[in-house]
Structures are given as C-alpha cells and as structure tokens.
Symmetry: C2
Subunit: 491 residues, 2 copies
Amino acid sequence: MTLAHAEARTGSHGADAVVRAAHAAFLAARTRTREERAAWMEAVADALESHREELVPLAMEETHLPEARLNGELTRSAFQLRLLAGEARRGEFLGAVVDHADPDWGMGPRPDLRRMNVPLGVVGVFGASNFPFAFSVIGGDSASALAAGCAVVHKLHGAHARLAARTAEIVVRALAEAGAPEGLFGAVSGREAAEALVDHPLVKAVGFTGSEAGGRALFDRAVARPEPIPFYGELGSLNPVVVTEAACAARAEEILTGWIGSMTMGVGQFCTKPGLLLLPEAGAEAAARVLPGAASAAALGTGMLTESIRDGFVANRDAVAASADVSVLVAGDAANPPAPGVLTVRAADLDEDAAAVRTEMFGPAAVLITYADTAELDRVLGLLGGQLTGTIHSEDGEDVSGVLQLLQDRCGRVLRGGWPTGVTVSYAQQHGGPYPAATQHATSVGTAAIDRWLRPVAFQDMEDGMLPPELQEANPLGIARRVDGEWQAAR
Amino acid sequence: MTLAHAEARTGSHGADAVVRAAHAAFLAARTRTREERAAWMEAVADALESHREELVPLAMEETHLPEARLNGELTRSAFQLRLLAGEARRGEFLGAVVDHADPDWGMGPRPDLRRMNVPLGVVGVFGASNFPFAFSVIGGDSASALAAGCAVVHKLHGAHARLAARTAEIVVRALAEAGAPEGLFGAVSGREAAEALVDHPLVKAVGFTGSEAGGRALFDRAVARPEPIPFYGELGSLNPVVVTEAACAARAEEILTGWIGSMTMGVGQFCTKPGLLLLPEAGAEAAARVLPGAASAAALGTGMLTESIRDGFVANRDAVAASADVSVLVAGDAANPPAPGVLTVRAADLDEDAAAVRTEMFGPAAVLITYADTAELDRVLGLLGGQLTGTIHSEDGEDVSGVLQLLQDRCGRVLRGGWPTGVTVSYAQQHGGPYPAATQHATSVGTAAIDRWLRPVAFQDMEDGMLPPELQEANPLGIARRVDGEWQAAR
C-alpha cells in the first residue's frame, strides 16, 4: 500500500476506479470476521488520535473553528469509531431470527427459516462542511458503514480540502497497517466525481449531510437510477424551542441568554442550532432587554467556515428580515464572522409560506416568535416542516402533553430543557426526522446508524454448515437472536 | 357507523376525504393502547373467517382461482392478522432504548436519552391482483400497518373489484364493532384516486405489490413529492433455481417435475414463481423427456385472473420465445388458461440484456437455462437483477458456497431444495430483495413487515411522566428494552 492510493480521485473515471477498488475490498472484507472489522476501526481511531497535533491545527486553519472545539470533535470521532466497533463485535444489528420448522404452524407447515442482515456493499459518503471530523471523512456515516461491513467511498468537502485529504490518507494507512483489504476506504473530490459516485451501479447507498438544495438534487439522482438506492440525507432544520408561560415567568432571562449561547455556538453553523424561539408575549419585554447584550457578548471566533457560507447566510438572514411582518430586534452585519442577529415576528402574523418558518439561516441569526396563547403556539408548530430537534422549556409538573405531541410529530429528538446543539453518540440517539430534516426515517448518529447500511436475507431449509455462523443451530458466536418468537440474550 | 362509510371513493376529492378521515382516526387511535389495537385486528380476523362462505365463492368467481387455494389464503390472512396483533401486544418493534445520563461517557457527559419507534400516520396500500386475500384489502401491508399503529387507505384492485369492496365493508364494520376510531381503514378505487393517494400530504408511506412498470411509476411519484415518502413496492422477480451437477445426476426427473408443478401453481401467477431453472447440460436430455408430459399434466383451473393479464402474459412469453438464441421446448398457447410453456437457452448465449433474464412472464411459462460448467453458471447468476428468491438443489454435503453467495447477493430469500412458491408468515420471513424485487430493503411478509411503518423518536432529559409508558423508568408495560447498552427481556 502506497500513499498514492490515498489520494482523492476526481472526475467520473476517477470515481469509477475508487468504487471498483472499494467493491473488491468489500468482497474480501466480508470473508473476514466481525472481530477483525472491529479491530480495523479501532486502529483508525488510534491513528486519528495519534495525529491530533497535526490535524487540529490544519482544521483550525481551514475552518476557523477554535482549538478546544476541534479537539473535542476529534475525541468524539475516535470515541464513535470505538463505540461502533463494539457494536460490530456484538452483532445485534444483524437482527438474527431463527424459526425452526413447525408442522403445526397456524397457517400450514412452516419450513426452517433463518434471517439476518447483510451489508449492502459500497457506500458513498458526503462530508459536511461544519464538522470537519465528526461528519466528514471518518465521521458517523463512514464509521457506521464500516461497522456494518460495507466499503466506503468518501466525497471530500472542499471547505476543508487539505484536512480531508490528509485525514483520508491517515485512514487508508491505518486500515492497511491493521490488515484491512486495500480499497475498503477511498476518497474522491469534485462535483463530477460526486455525481458519478451517486450514479455508480456498484454504489448501494449514500450518506449525506448538507443543504436542502444540494441534498435534494442528489436524492433525486439516487432515486432516479435504474436501480434506485437509499439516500440518507440530512438536509436542514430550524430546531424550534418552546418556552411555556410558566417557564417564561420563572426564568426568562436565563432562557434568553442560553438561547443566544446555543444559537451562536460554532458561529451558528450547527444543524441543530435553535433557529426559532417561541416565547409568550409576556416575555417580549425581557427579550428586548436581554438579547442585544447577550448577542454582543457571544464568542464567535475568527470567522465562518468559508466566505461563500458567510455570503449565503447573510443573504438568507436578510431575506427573512425583509419578509412580511418580521422586525429586526438585534441587527447582524455582513462582517466575517457576522455579528449575531435576532429577528422577531408575532405568531399571529405567520402563515405556512412565511420565510421565518421555512428558511434555515446557517449562521449566527435566529427568529423570536411571540405567541399570545396556546392556540397560537399550536398553530405555529403546525406550520413547521420536519425537524431534527424540538425543545420545550417548562416548569416541573406542568402539563405540556399537547406541545410534546406536536414536537414529536415533526422532530427526531425532543428535549426538555437544555439546548439541542449537543448531540451525544449513544445507543438511544436519534439524529434525523421527517423531511427535510432527513430524507429517510433513520439516524446518522449513534449505534442505530449502522442499520442504514444493511439489508435482510432469509435462508430456508439449509444444512447447518451452509449457514453463516450467526444463524447456525449452536449459535457458535453467541449473539442475541430471536428463536421461535422469543429473544435469547447474547452469551 | 353506516355502511356508506365503507364504500370505496373515487377521484382525487374522494381520496382526499378518505385520507382525512383516516388521519383523524390515526390521531384518535394513538391515544389507545397496543392491547386495544391488537383486539381490533383480531376482530377483523374473526370477521374474515365468519364471512368465509360468502367471500370465497365471490373470489372464485372473480379470480378463477380454485376453492381450496382461496380457502387457504383466507386462513392465512386471518392467521397473519392474529400473529401481527400478537406483535402489537409485545411491542418489540418499538425498539425501545434507554440511555441513562452518564457524566463519564467517553466523549463527554451524556444526557438521559430514550428512543422508540412511533407510527408514521396514514399509509396507502395497493392491493395485488394475484392474492385476493393475502396481498389485497386486508393482506400483509394492511395488517402490518395497523399493527404499527397506522391508519390504512386501501386502493382496491380492479381485478377483484366486488370481492375487494365487500372485504373492505367487512373490515370497516368489524373495526367499528370492536371500537376502533371511524376511518382507521378506508378504501378508494380508480386511477385518479390512486395517484391522489400517493400525492396526498397526509399519506406518509405506501405499500404496493404489482408490476415493475406500474410500481416504478408510483415509486417515482412518491419520491418526487415535496416531502418524499417511503414507497415499499414489490415489483417483479424471476426466482432462479440452480440445479447442481450432482443433484441433476441423482434426481433430474424429480426436480424437473417439481419445477413444472411450482411454476404452474396458481396458473403461474405467483411473484415467487420459479421462472428460471439453471440445469447442467447433462440434464438436457431428461428435460426434453420429462417436461412436455409434466407440463400437459399441470392443473391450471379455469383461467388466468383477467383477460388482460392473459394477454400480457402471452405477449411477454412470445417476446422471450422470439429473442435471440431462445428455443421453444414446450409450446404454450393463447387459450385461457394458456397451456404451460417452457423456453430454453444455453447459458453461453446469454448476455445482460437478454430478454430471458430480464422479462417476468406472469403466467405458466418459464425458461430452462443449460450450463456447461460452474463458470457459465456463475456468469448467468451475475447477469440477474434483484430477486425475491433464489433456490439451490444440491446433494447433502456438497460445497455450494459460491452459488449460495451469488444467490444471497441478489435475493431476499435463499432456499435449499423445495420451491419458492410457498411464503410462510413468521418471525424470520423475508419477502423482498434488491431492486426490482423490492424498492426498499424491507419485507412485506412476516412480523418484520411492521418496521416499515414506523419512525424513531428520541426523548432527552424528560420528566418520567412526560414519557410514553414504554420508555418510563419503571417500564410499567414490561416490554423488551436495551438499557445502557444491554438488552433486558420482556416481562
């Protein structure tokens, strides 16, 4: 393995070569054990951490994000690889089910039938601009695809091109040194290669995090193929936060200050940025008093990810500001980083097409919506499209079941208190939501992310030795299985 | 509830009314327990069986299928409703996961996070022509959607319009008498209503079984919506059957006779009909000797499902017969039912575009492919698209791992011996496969079919009383859950 193999290829011919190599590696890798796969992933995690001193400064230079944040993100990415490697070892995502032959099955004799999930093959992964480690080269999509047993072809993000290329080199070398088949991870760059990746017959699924416009275009491409493939896209979210009257009365200032802190974190460049705050009208005075100071106190670092992201943000913010019935409560600017802005509108003035409830402003600006009563609140929540998160700030013991249901109906994750900008990597995490938050009902963060890269296969009336070990009668690997309807725990 | 509500509505206005009623019923139904939902489904199963004497003769009249088969299919459909009702009670498809807050989580403090699956809402279900009970009004798609907690709007199939309308009436009445919200199940008919169903903003997923052309058109429609929705389509399959040299030497006649029996079952109108038999050249003589007699002995009943299905079958069969290098081994005809036909072609003469490996002949005809060696066999299997099933006839102890892998790569269910035309309803069943067998990686038969109609939601840092009972700390309903990474069995 030479480092030449780690170079990102461009163009459709380049993409074809990388995909073919990945497919060959997938075929080789599936003859190896889950234990070996887990070890490969752990080797990548180790390599990421051992190159921390090189990668973090490179990321700072390209993304303008601060050192502490990037260090934490690298730690998170290595942790994620190890957690998912653990899942590869456990094999619960195989969903192994064994039905023994049953001559007395209620609808007629049942054959011996055994099902488990198998990896899809080569997966295309598009890096996101805003998390140069956690949602990029070896972030959640790549890690979960490798855990599933797939090969990965990663489309480098141009916003951190040097970091991405260097990370890809490190991943390729770590996999090679750990004994993984050559080509199991590859990289491409440029638009032509990106489109070729989505179109390639050997690519069986795509993971994407980015804008609604770009993501929808690729989704449309993936489903228009002769063989449509699953396109797991995370496309955009406003992340509404509801403040109840009781919470507003009890601690309006604390909530308003916390909101500005969360919505300006990472210069507002989080997919989970709380872009809408729904506040009782009684809180309007506190908002006018607190928000300007909180906004000017926000720590914004040295700039947005790129100049074009800044330009896009300013254009979207100004479009919302200029839309009907919206007022500017805290004026932002067009510097880099832009000063945080807060726009405001009355709930009663919003309709379904209102820019304020339809436009993601990817940067440090958000909309304060004031509502007169719960009917207005419920109506505004009803106007919203799919969201990654929804949050409610309420007081202990308050009955907020109505709002909770409305949030649950349009969000992937519902929070009580706190802010949505932290997304832990764990077993119960759900990062996704109804469209446009995500294009499929799945999560891109946490252990359940692995399920996206699998498909089920059933085996009927096989000799025991013809079955994968996970389905053999003696369960030699001791994984959890459902047998004749009852779950048996892992040994 | 009057029977007027059970009438299938037509046109886009009719569809809109049925969908709105279903959505209202969905909202009401989700305030009820899984136990109640299970009881509603069991009431429908009871009603199906208590109307057996009326429904089976009506089905015979409209479909020309024999009484014994239709009786078995009705039994299967009632069994399916009860099995899925049992799953609704168990709640394992909720996939409940609880992560307690953990200040020492490897990537930084973890909040309390709890995830479970929730029903999507209104589901559109398209009935298939060939299983007037099991894949129609209250077949697998409808039963699994109800088990998930969804409401169902069923598009009646015109090939058994009176049976479908009467079955829908029975379902609506049974649900009403069991106390389900009015509108939980509704019906529409006609093409305009069908398209309106797929387009309707309140419809959140579609289940379909039918032809590749019709299914792909509806799939394209579902994914082109402003909010794309999952379209679970089962579109077509050739169901290859491989006979090894050893099996051919040992029992060619038995296999060839069995093949004709399976491929003419139900006048060849099974999605799992074994449409391709891959036989060693050594078996060609036996085939020429056995197949004509076996074909003329096949029991075909009184006709195909409809005249237009017969016409489509004859046209497809004749097109394959006229394609390059294909010979007619047993001539069919254009009667109704048509006499069974067997076409034959040498493996070496096939390429990827060959009609013989691309055309589903929905009726009593199939293709015998003779292969000279395993290289030819492997090459032909490599030409095939996605399949519902693949079967291998081999001798005990033979190493067939290569063929098994090729079948697994393109099939949802792989059988050793036997024939694919029986599809049991059980925990391990997998009825689906890579495109065009299915448009998504899911099953439409068996308990796992429920998973199609759900999406996950995570709850963060909730007060215990704000959570659904399945996620509350004490697990009052005693369902199986994964807690801090470890599965806890149902109580």
